[in-house]
Assembly symmetry: C2
Homo-oligomer: 477 residues x 2
């Protein structure tokens, strides 16, 4: 009955992709809607998934010399207003604290939508000499942007993220940092989430408020929509000038330092769902799966079966995150339940298997069944998890390749945008007007100017003037 209910409840992604997504979020128990508009209750399974992502990113940040700090959630209005472009970008969607208890505050405080200005205020107090540079900071925090329409993980009023903020002696050093962190994000996405990404630069229209340049990794979801998976910004010395951050350089001259910031958020959970999930639910990349192996005793009422399952789990404790499901639910219910939760490997063991010293390992993503000697499991499971990771990555890459199209004329790009979901590669002259026209006529935005360029044509897909840049276009989350 419970089994039936679960299987019935999930919408197929072909019928309604958006509903499929919401169903997976709820049925896999990642998050629930809350009574706070646009905010989620992130459940234990979703939180454990985020913690695994966070721990790996944190490890990579520390490995590259970054230190964590904790800055306030509030920004006084006067501080937010110091950098003109930045405040214009964020002011329309910030939450304002105006009262404490029943008293009106003397100055309004906004909830940080991002923390550049707080870091600037902090830097100003701790940097005097070139010897104090670089400052390589990161913080794990939640931030708030009052969006009109929201969807769990993809767009919420409050979201969880890390924001790196660094300050450098030279522009070159800051630019190298921006690139390094984009590579950290790309490696994390590919090696840890099995998610292929395109690395590139945002157009001026799409860049971060206050940045000189924004770099991005872009992923392609099942439905052919793009998702900005991580960004890294180079600020030049604009913020330093606005906040009067200076240092005495090597030559004794007073100089302005150069700044970066970079962030990745809980929307990566949404990206994982829409990159790997299927009509049976979530499919988790093994390296971040809260449970990597679930052991299911079959005919568990028979003597020794539950003990056998537990012994298998015990033998795997040092090589994988493993769980035994010896609950009273039927095997069919359990299969559906753990498939819904996206556990990469299922180990089935019944009385005859145990007698023969074997078990059946089933992969979540392609339901391959492999008979393995129980004694070999501790050696086999890590290799199988890596195989699953590689399989997921190749599958996602093949999907992206099949859904990446080329257009060389306005007619063609409009026609593709209407009929073929996915990335469209096309040349662009660099003119904002063309970018606007593509948005209006084809309903697509520039995703990035990829670092790996191809010369598809000599002219802009829109205006026909000479064009040097190949751009990825698409619809985006």
């Amino acid at each position: 009955m419970a089994e039936k209910k679960m299987v019935e409840a999930i919408t197929s992604m072909e019928d309604n992709f958006s509903q499929w997504y919401t169903d997976v979020v709820h049925k896999a128990e990642l998050a629930r809607h809350s009574s706070v508009r646009g905010c989620m209750y992130v459940q234990p399974y979703g939180t454990a998934l985020w913690e695994n992502m966070r721990n790996e990113l944190d490890r990579r940040f520390k490995e590259t010399g970054h230190e964590n700090v904790m800055l306030p959630m509030f920004i006084p209005e006067s501080l937010l207003q110091k950098e003109k472009d930045h405040v214009e970008g964020f002011a329309p969607e910030v939450a304002w604290v105006t009262h404490g208890g029943s008293e009106k505050l003397t100055e309004r405080l906004c909830i940080r939508p991002t923390s550049e200005v707080l870091f600037c205020d902090y830097y100003a107090g701790i940097v005097q000499s070139w010897r104090d540079l670089p400052k390589l900071y990161n913080q794990w925090a939640s931030v708030c942007r009052l969006e009109k329409t929201t969807r769990p993980f993809l767009r919420t009023l409050e979201f969880y993220w890390q924001e790196g903020h660094t300050l450098h002696e030279t522009a070159d050093e800051a630019k190298a940092e921006t690139e390094q962190m984009l590579n950290v994000y790309a490696d994390f996405a590919e090696q840890h989430l099995a998610m292929p990404v395109v690395k590139g630069r945002k157009t001026d229209k799409e860049k971060f408020a206050g940045a000189v340049a924004t770099y991005t990794i872009e992923a392609l979801m099942h439905d052919g929509q793009a998702l900005q998976a991580g960004t890294s910004h180079y600020f030049g010395d604009g913020f330093a000038r606005a906040f009067d951050i200076t240092f005495t350089g090597r030559s004794g001259k007073v100089e302005y330092p150069h700044q970066t910031s970079w962030g990745m958020t809980t929307r990566m959970i949404g990206a994982v769902i829409m990159t790997h999930g299927d009509n049976s639910g979530l499919v988790l990349p093994p390296k971040v799966a809260p449970i990597q192996v679930v052991v299911l005793p079959i005919a568990q009422h028979k003597p020794g079966v539950i003990d056998g399952a537990q012994a298998i789990a015990d033998s795997l404790k040092d090589v994988a995150r493993v769980k035994v499901d010896a609950s009273d639910n039927s095997p069919g219910w359990k299969f559906a339940q753990w498939e819904m939760k996206g556990v990469p490997l299922r180990v089935e063991c019944g009385p005859r298997d145990l007698e023969a010293g074997t078990c059946v390992v089933v992969t979540r993503h392609n339901r391959e069944k492999i008979t393995v000697n129980i004694a070999d499991l501790p050696e086999q499971i890590p290799a199988l998890l890596q195989q699953v990771h590689d399989g997921l990555y190749q599958k996602a890459l093949a999907h992206r390749e099949s859904a990446t199209h080329v257009a060389t004329s306005m007619d063609e790009i409009c026609s593709i945008a209407k009929t073929k979901p996915g990335f469209i590669k096309a040349m662009w002259c660099g003119d904002l007007a063309c970018e606007m026209q593509l948005k209006e006529q084809a309903g697509i935005t520039s995703r990035c100017i990829p670092f790996e360029q191809e010369k598809l044509a000599d002219t802009c897909v829109c205006c026909g003037k000479p064009a040097d840049d190949m751009v990825y276009w698409g619809r985006a989350y």
Copy 2:
């Protein structure tokens, strides 16, 4: 010069304890004042210290079956008002968000001062049957209470904490949980922070808004003031009734579940400073120290010395958090610097030491110098760190014992309160009026009714009526 500046800058705790505290926070680079009133910029060293505390607490929570979740930072006004005592306790000091961008919100949102009501709203959606219980949740978050006077770590508008929230089938189970988590806190304080604590129950006057009972661990600081180091609350079914959380019990009857919450905050950093620190700065308990061993090359310009220091550090990597300071600063400056930062062990190695295959290990807390064979360090250092931990605990315990006084009459308790900083043990009849009078006449509050009772007298220290409860009284942070 720098050395002199540092040594001069710290106020001695005998001269001005409060200034000494602030000096240590700043000079040890734990945190800085921010441009956001009452909020801190927690620097890398302070953040690393908090992360070490957090990781150990998190490990203990997971070991006792708890799962992390992430709930919103906002509470809609209507939700906050559902439980009468709770809202009365917190409403005067909450921050209210009234506007999003330039638009007025239809309902005000407060920044969570604590999350009981959000957890209740969450529980109501996920609990139907006794099979769904218990729910054992925790979250790591920051919360906000608009205090008038603030001090870094001890009392800030925004502070970082964990808040455990659990829901149980029976009152007994919930009470056992409350006690279990108080023990987790006490063990953590004693075994990890080397901080002796008194376990007990708060009086009704001092308990948490909305709780049936609040349990606490109380520590004693250098200056004889008490610090509430962690609390655990039993709520009965009061919140469940207010939020209409019910479940179908084993007998088929609809019942109200029983609830707890428990929290520990960044004020533990303040407690560590004021329990172990001295006039040379911070003294960190080894188990949470971001750097446990600092290796200082002496006469480092001589050939092989820096390499030798680095080799020592490399040999310790697997047994301790170790750092080499091969900066250009003088040995004297380095001694002062790493003492200020409270690093438990300093390893000094000069050319002659290295030639002899020995080095000198100096303990931070009592400046004991021990000559150790370099080859023995990987074995010796863990043992020395444990010795330092034990030494810190014994020193703090001795201080607490010498600063714990007994009073049996009102004259006596007033006189002690005026002249002898510390805990005062005295009998209490349980009457609020006596508690108020002790506050007024002696300037002290009840810290807790300790689990370990002593019969000091038959009558209340204040009114002289029969009294059963021995209470710890004192001034508190």
